[in-house]
Symmetry: C2
Subunit: 279 residues, 2 copies
């Protein structure tokens, strides 16, 4: 697993870096970003928070727009932000913004043509974290967070792998994809029309039957244009009541779906994660 550095910029005393590497799982070249806080300069190992972005994003949006490096530097957290799908001319694609390149939905596709490359679930759960642990001064302590499609991805990762993540958080997550258009569209394409295959990628269904818990924080703006048609965080809240899941859902008056919303509350999320990462 060889890494090639694409850029490195000093940020808040640490470094925001972008790398390229060949992914065996995705069978293509990939980019990811990492923020290494100043505590790593003397070899100190720090915990990691993995960030999963929403559709149309790359490895850049979060590092550019969330303003997360400031608080990560203060708390001593490394941030890892992968791209949102496999990429390249040889990789299947679709003209719509919510399917194909830029919209891998963090699943392992089983249907042609997607199954050749679209294994983002395995990539963000295993291959990329292992690469990061091998190449950078990070401890084994990890949490996961994301936005929209990436909020769905983060919740599904933590719900299916409670021993792997100390905590999970999401901004504006797609909470019940089996029942709403973005989710149904992606799951149909990647996993096929048989909806019984979808339930392992639905945070609300997983949370409802959960028996092992990962502390979970969700923030949702009530001026989010996708709230009713796509996101439906109340399905998560209802599921948490069934299983007794430790979910804190904050509704934020007047906030929309943008990175301005994320930036406004990223401090809260990283402070939430460090409580569990440092425990």
């Amino acid at each position: 697993m060889s890494l090639e550095i694409a850029s490195a910029s000093k940020s808040f005393g640490g470094w925001t870096k972008h790398y390229t590497h060949f992914s065996e799982v995705l069978n293509c070249d990939m980019r990811f970003a990492i923020y290494l806080p100043p505590q790593t300069a003397n070899g100190q190992k720090v915990p990691v928070v993995h960030w999963l972005s929403g559709p149309t994003c790359t490895d850049e949006n979060f590092m550019h727009k969330a303003g997360a490096q400031r608080i990560a530097a203060e708390l001593g957290i490394a941030l890892v932000a992968p791209d949102t799908s496999p990429r390249g001319d040889a990789v299947a694609n679709d003209d719509s913004y919510d399917l194909g390149q830029g919209a891998g939905f963090y699943v392992n596709a089983t249907r042609s043509p997607w199954n050749r490359h679209y294994h983002m679930y395995d990539y963000v759960l295993d291959e990329l974290p292992q690469l990061v642990e091998t190449a950078f001064p990070v401890s084994g302590s990890a949490s996961v967070m994301g936005h929209a499609m990436g909020g769905h991805g983060a919740l599904v990762l933590a719900l299916r792998n409670p021993g792997r993540f100390r905590s999970v958080s999401a901004f504006s997550p797609i909470s019940n994809p089996v029942n709403y258009p973005w989710g149904r569209n992606a799951l149909t394409a990647y996993l096929g029309e048989d909806a019984s295959a979808w339930s392992e990628f639905d945070a609300s269904l997983l949370m409802r039957k959960a028996t092992q818990f990962v502390p979970a924080l969700v923030d949702q703006g009530d001026a989010d244009a996708f709230l009713d048609e796509q996101l439906q965080p109340e399905t998560l809240e209802a599921a948490s009541k069934v299983s007794g899941y430790p979910l804190k859902l904050n509704r934020r008056d007047g906030y929309d779906h943008s990175y301005y919303f994320i930036a406004s509350f990223i401090d809260d999320h990283l402070r939430f994660h460090i409580q569990h990462l440092a425990a």
Copy 2:
């Protein structure tokens, strides 16, 4: 002067908004961004810091990437970020990134074809601030800051209009444009080959002969790829010694020319400005 709102996103309890309007000075439609901190919600008038961006930027980059809203919300400062040139099919342009649309250099062009629209100096000094004061709950108290070409613009505005700005700051400013390629290229195109016309747009020449002072703060990364060939902040430092100008120049070890550098020190700059804005 009619304003049309293009977008509004709640940010840190305030609002990041983008507007379009017809500029009489530039003779074209323009966009600008404004951040209104939460203190304005109850009608309180707040001071303004004007931000001038570097070449290739629009009204979006600063609001997306600088992470300034957090500290502006805390301090009660409105932020205004104009586009970097006149825009549109009818506006003269050039294929290079450092001339024409996206690179107005904050001068009043006197040469054809640029003189028809390129009066960014008058736009950012007069027309836009007046529009902002008419339309938004801001006080008359203003400071100005910018990056690269915009750092040049901010310094020139303050040096030529010491009664208009309480303080000025810059990241990686083009400090002595009459002597370096970006500056010479832009000044030749916009003002003509006679270099005697250029001195009113050169921060180092203006600072050297200044007799009225505006407190000035400059930050410069020492890993900035443009440092020696384009920026040359030591010319500002030398000029400040001649006139006794109140300039604080910080050299920052390892930082480059990017918004990651700006984000790392934007708190310091806004805290510097509020000292003078609130006085």
